[in-house]
Amino acid sequence: MRTQQTLFEKIWNEHVIHKQDDGTCLIYIDRHLVHEVTSPQAFEGLRMNNRKVHKTKTTLAVADHNVPTTNRTNGILEEDSRIQIETLRANCSEFGVTLFDMDDKRQGIVHIIGPEQGFTLPGMTIVCGDSHTSTHGAFGSLAFGIGTSEVEHVLATQTLIQKPAKNMRITVNGALSTGVSAKDMALAIIREIGTAGGTGHVIEYTGEAVRALSMEGRMTLCNMAIEAGARTGLIAPDQTTFDYIKGRPMAPQGKKFEMAVSYWKTLFSDEDATYDKDIVINADDITPLVTWGTSPEDVIEITGIVPCPDDFDTEEKKASVQRMLDYMGLTSGMHMQEITIDKAFIGSCTNARIEDLREVAKIAQGHKVADNVHALIVPGSGLVKEQAEKEGLDKIFIEAGFDWREPGCSMCLAMNADKLEPEERCASTSNRNFEGRQGRGGRTHLMSPAMAAAAAIRGRLTDVREF
């Protein structure tokens, strides 16, 4: 073992239970988050093989992908969605797993409730059958998405069979300018390294601009590590992290908290640790960004113009760009700010935390959503919703003409009733602009919460710095 270790290597080595001669490791999993979409077949596998859940107290389930964001007193109208949630309820009850059900105010998006409850802690291995599990890396934990077979494996054994990833460091120096957020930082990084830039690697985010982010901002940044192709992203824990965790319901309390903090303080990369890839970005160079295509790497400044296929190097990328322009209904050379929208979606595990909603409220106050736009705000959890209402943000939203909803994944992936119709265009704070992601034929532009709010008000993509 090298004496100088990266943060990833420290956490990894702490969790290796057994190592085969070929380097394949059995690693221990500290926390397992479960939701309704990727778990039914895993529980079914346990049942068929007469297996139990190995450790129920470190497993937490919630329904989020399919839940309605409008009035829930009528239940779920769509049969398949209802069955999936009923199945989760039955499985949790049969196997003894804690579930935050639809009527529980702690219910929300799985990657929002974990940190909110103090279930997510530094130095842990955390998994979930969802690629955006990387979000929890913001706490200096090793958190990654897994498929359903691995969900079953973790339920049955509390372990996974894995090989270590490679190390990548992204340093963001300087300070973000006014109107530029963690979301813009995430998009700038993906533009820089591409959607396959992080494949096989764990990204460690560091540098002044990263250190300066709140926990909410760090979660936004790590959330989109998967969009850069990385196994996950992480940030060394510091006082900001400890302050966020202290007092949360599932976090250690009293002496145990002190004991944990002294361990958490050892979680940083050693000075001479080496990385397989090392990228440096200047925060001062980052401006408000939006996507124009159907891959999260197709990013451009809000002041920019829609590119043309000849701007790109390879034949395959040129072909891909033409296909994207056709799908998105855009013409090369048009100004991004000329693009009008039909919907705005403020929500998702990327941007539905209280800080995101405060940013939206700052922009929305005293303005009205444009007549041609339906603008949804979907809080990340019942507790985020409660906090926003305590601060009076809901009144600002409603007054400005936003549609204030119940928590869930909603139109990020449109598994519930919230979706785009064919050719509808959306300013979205979510994480993926893939073809059909928000509804078949739907056209997604990714951006920060403040930018989405500005677009909703002007009815077209807008530079938030004008507000």
Binding site: I17, H18, Q20, D22, L26, Y28, V37, T38, P40, Q41, E44, H54, K55, N66, D80, I83, Q84, T87, L121, G129, D130, S131, T133, G145, I146, G147, T148, S149, E150, H153, A156, T157, T159, I161, T195, A196, T199, G200, G229, R231, A251, P252, K256, F257, A260, Y263, S295, E316, K317, A319, R323, L413, A414, M415, R432, F434, E435, G436, R437, R440
Partner: protein, 201 residues
């Protein structure tokens, strides 16, 4: 899991880069609580129009590619979500082997758990294979996992790399959970250790 040893089959060319999991299986089909039956929905939005009729131009709707068991495609295949519905749909369609210059990590891993062999080759070899199956649709490509070869009769032979442990599991159709449960003693002693050292876990 069914073992993967050899395969001799039609290969379909799909020369798009960054084929994401939403393209492989759109979200409306994730509401199932089963692993089976998703083949009919694989590549749904490319394969069918809004009314559910087949798009004649889509490769997997053309003969002989509709019987393909091998897929040859562009880089970063399977990027996006962790949904195992993606390999389930591909497998259920009949595809058992995917050849690309790169794969997204989670999709790559999920493929092995379902008896699908993902093969990574240098881009120029993928290009050669792509051209070969576009020009000679009926030709059968042979994959031999034990020997790690891709061949077409005497015409060409390529070698590919694969992690030895993954190869071993695929060849034998070995179930991971059984393997891990054999190490139960290691898990128990690890848990005893953290109960003392990190009681907050």
């Amino acid at each position: 899991m069914k073992p993967f040893q050899t395969l001799r089959a039609v290969a379909a060319p799909m020369p798009m880069i960054n084929i994401d999991t939403d393209i492989i299986i759109p979200k409306q089909f994730l509401k199932t609580i089963k692993r089976t039956g998703l083949g009919v929905n694989a590549f749904n939005d490319l394969r069918y129009d809004e009314n559910g009729n087949e798009n004649k131009d889509f490769v997997l709707n053309k003969k002989p590619y509709r019987n393909a068991e091998i897929l040859i495609t562009g880089k970063n295949f399977g990027c996006g979500s962790s949904r195992e519905h993606a390999p389930w749909a591909i497998k259920d369609f009949g595809i058992q082997c995917i050849i690309a210059s790169s794969f997204a990590d989670i999709f790559y891993n999920n493929s092995f758990k379902n008896g699908i062999l993902p093969i990574e080759l240098p881009q120029e070899q993928v290009d050669t294979l792509m051209k070969e199956v576009q020009e000679n649709p009926d030709v059968l490509i042979e994959i031999n996992l034990e020997k790690q070869t891709i061949t077409r009769g005497n015409k060409f032979s390529l070698n590919f790399d694969i992690d030895p442990f993954r190869k071993h599991c695929l060849l034998g159709g070995i179930d991971d959970i059984d393997l891990t449960l054999e190490k139960k003693n290691y898990i128990d002693s690890y848990e005893n250790k953290i109960n003392t050292e990190k009681p907050w876990i």
